[in-house]
C-alpha cells in the first residue's frame, strides 16, 4: 500500500498536453477494477447508507425519511453497547493472539529442518476449510458429553469428563477467540514467512559477528525488520476479524445472554431475525466508520513513524 516513488526523471518532465492526455488514457488500466467493484460493492453500500437514514420495513421497502433516528435507536440499545465492547475484546484478542503466535511459528517455519514442508502445510491447513465449517466442527469438538476435546482430556487423566465449554459466556467467548486465532494464523504466518525470507542472511551473520546471541538477533534484527509485515498483518486482520461472522454465529449465536454477541452478529439479528433493516443499516454504517477511522489512523501513524526514522 506504500506509495511508489515518482522517479526524478518523471517528475521533471514537462506536463505537455499530450502527456496529460496520455495520463488520462492510463485510467483505462484501473477502470475495469473500479467498474467491477463499484457495481457490485458500491450499489449495496449505497443501499445500506440509504436504509440507515430511512424508515424501512422488514423487506427493505422505504416508508419514510428517518434522519439520524436509527442511529439514535442503535445508541440507546444497551445490547449494541455491550456488543461494541465485546467486539473490541474479540478483535484485540484474536488479532493480538494471532500475531503473538504467528511470529514464533513463522520464525520456526523459516528454520531449515527435517519435514519443514509438512509442518508448513499443516499450519496452513485451517485455511483450507471455510469458517462456517470450522466453527461447526469445533462446536462438535467442544461438546460437553460427546465432544472429542473432553474425550481426549479425560484420556489424559484430566477431570473434564463432561465439562460444558459453551455454557458460560466467558468460557464460550474464550473458545471462540481461540478458534478465531487458529483460523487467522495461516494467513498471518504466510505474510510473516514472506517477511522473514526477505531478510538477508548476511544480516544475521553480521549480528553473530557483532556478538549477538540468537535471542538478541531475534529481538534486535528479526522483529524490527518484520515491522512492515506486522503492520499489514495487523491492519488486514483487524478488518477481517472485526467483520468475522460465522464462528460466533454457529458456535453460540451470540449467547448466553448476549455475552458473545459482537457487532456483526448484532447487525445480523437486527436485520434478519427482528426485521429491523434500518437499525441494522445504521449499525453497519457505524461499524464501517469505526474501521475506516482505525485504518486511516493506523496507516497515518505508521507512515509518520516511518517518516521520522528517515
Amino acid at each position: 500500500m506504500e506509495m511508489t516513488q515518482t522517479t526524478p526523471a518523471q517528475a521533471s518532465r514537462p506536463q505537455s498536453g499530450a502527456r496529460i492526455g496520455r495520463n488520462l488514457t492510463n485510467l483505462v488500466f484501473i477502470l475495469p477494477s473500479v467498474l467491477l467493484s463499484l457495481t457490485i460493492i458500491g450499489y449495496p453500500i449505497f443501499e445500506v447508507m440509504r436504509m440507515a437514514v430511512s424508515d424501512v420495513n422488514r423487506f427493505g421497502k422505504i416508508r419514510g425519511f428517518e434522519g439520524l433516528g436509527n442511529f439514535l435507536k442503535v445508541f440507546q440499545d444497551p445490547i449494541f453497547i455491550q456488543s461494541s465492547y465485546q467486539t473490541l475484546i474479540w478483535t484485540v484478542a484474536v488479532v493480538g493472539g494471532t500475531v503473538l503466535i504467528a511470529i514464533p511459528v513463522a520464525i520456526i517455519l523459516n528454520e531449515d529442518f527435517h519435514g519443514r514442508s509438512i509442518a508448513r502445510t499443516i499450519v496452513l491447513l485451517p485455511w483450507a476449510v471455510s469458517l462456517a465449517m470450522t466453527a461447526l466442527v469445533w462446536r462438535f469438538v467442544v461438546n460437553g458429553d460427546f465432544g472429542t476435546l473432553n474425550l481426549a482430556l479425560t484420556q489424559l487423566g484430566l477431570p473434564f469428563n463432561n465439562h460444558p465449554w459453551l455454557a458460560t459466556a466467558a468460557s464460550a467467548f474464550t473458545i471462540e477467540i481461540l478458534v478465531g486465532i487458529l483460523v487467522s494464523i495461516p494467513f498471518t504466518v504466510t505474510i510473516f514467512l514472506g517477511g522473514l525470507t526477505s531478510i538477508p542472511v548476511t544480516l544475521y551473520e553480521a549480528a553473530a559477528m557483532d556478538g549477538a546471541t540468537r535471542w538478541q538477533s531475534l529481538t534486535r534484527i528479526t522483529l524490527p525488520m518484520l515491522r512492515p509485515f506486522l503492520q499489514i498483518a495487523i491492519v488486514l486482520n483487524v478488518i477481517y476479524v472485526f467483520n468475522s461472522f460465522p464462528i460466533i454465529w454457529i458456535m453460540t449465536n451470540g449467547g448466553p445472554a448476549n455475552g458473545t454477541d459482537i457487532l456483526i452478529t448484532y447487525v445480523y439479528k437486527q436485520a434478519f431475525a427482528f426485521g429491523k433493516l434500518d437499525v441494522a443499516a445504521a449499525a453497519s454504517v457505524l461499524m464501517f466508520l469505526v474501521l475506516l477511522g482505525f485504518s486511516v489512523l493506523y496507516l497515518f501513524m505508521t507512515r509518520q513513524r516511518g517518516a521520522a526514522g528517515q
Binding site: P200, D210, G211, R227
Partner: protein, 357 residues
Amino acid sequence: MSSIAIRNLTKSYGSVQVLHGIDLDIADEEFVVLVGPSGCGKSTLLRMIAGLEDITAGDLHIDGTRMNDVSPQKRDLAMVFQSYALYPHMTVAENMAFSLSLRGKQKSAIEREVGDAARILHLEDYLDRLPKSLSGGQRQRVAMGRAIVRHPKAFLFDEPLSNLDAKLRTHMRAEIKQLHQSLGATSVYVTHDQIEAMTLADRIVVMNAGRVEQVGTPLELFDRPRTRFVAGFIGAPAMNFFEGKVELNEQGKPHTHIGPSPVALPEGMESQAGAIVTVGLRPQHIPVSAASTDGNARVELVEQTGCETNLLLKLAGIDFTVQTRDRLEVNAGDAVNLEFDSRNMHVFDSNSGQRLN
C-alpha cells in the same frame, strides 16, 4: 590483537570437498590477504575463521586457543561483508554501537567509541541517518566503523570493496591500509583483485581450487611465483607463457625455441634435456624496439594508458603482451623486435606447474 593458526583445515559439503587441508599462520598485527579466482574457497576459509561455516576437519586456533566449536559470537572477531550487511532499521550510530550495546557497555563509553570511529572514517555528519540514505562509499565506511569500535581480536574482510566504483575503490584501499597501520589490527582480507592484494597485504595467500598455492609477501609472489598458477595470477597485465622443449647447447647451457629462433633459458634450472617446460615472462620484462622491416614479432593491437603502452603481439603463432614506457611509434601490423632475457624468466614444469629455476 591476536595470532591465528590454521592446521590442515578441511571443508566438505556432503561428498564435495571444497577445502583440502589448509595450513596457515597469521601473526599478530599482520595483514594477510586471501586471493584467488572465484570458487577457490577463499571466502569459505574466511567464514570458517569467522565461525559462520562449520569446520569439517582440522584445527583453528586463535591466540593459541582452539576455536573450532566456539560460536561466532564468542570469537571476538569483526567482519566487513561484501554487501556491508548494515542493519537497515538502525541509524549509522546505532549500527556502529550495536555490538557494544549487546555487550552491555555504558552509554557514555559507547558514544565515545562511536564518536572516535566516526571521526576516523569521516562519518560524523551522518550518524543519525539510516543506511539507505547513504552512498556506497559511506555505507562501506559504516561497515568499517562497526568493526573498528569493537577493538576485536582480528578484522575479517570479505571482498569489502567489490561494490564500489574504481576510483572509490582505490581511495578506500588506501584508507584501509592507513587504518591498519594506525590500529595495528590483525586482518584477514579476501579479494579476487590482485592489485588490492598486492597493495594491502603484508603477506598474500594465493588459493586455487581449495588449496594454498603460495604464501608470501607481495614482492616474493611477484618476483618468484612458486607455481605457474601464481605466476599467471599475480601481476598485470598477466605474465606471458610459452612452452618449449629443453635443449642443451655445446656448453651445456639450456635453451628452447620460439618458432625457429632459439631462446636461452636461465642457468641452474632443475631440468633435464628433453623436458617440456613452460617459460613465463612478465610484459614489463620484455624489451621491445621498433624494427625496420623484418622484426621477429608483429603488432596486433596497441593500447595506450598514457604512462605505459601495451602491445599485443604475435610471434611464431604465440600471443605476447609487452608493456613499455617508451613512446614507440608503432601501429597494428608493424613489425617489432623482442628480446628475451633469461634472467627475468620464470620456468615451470609443464606437467606439475612447479617452478624449476
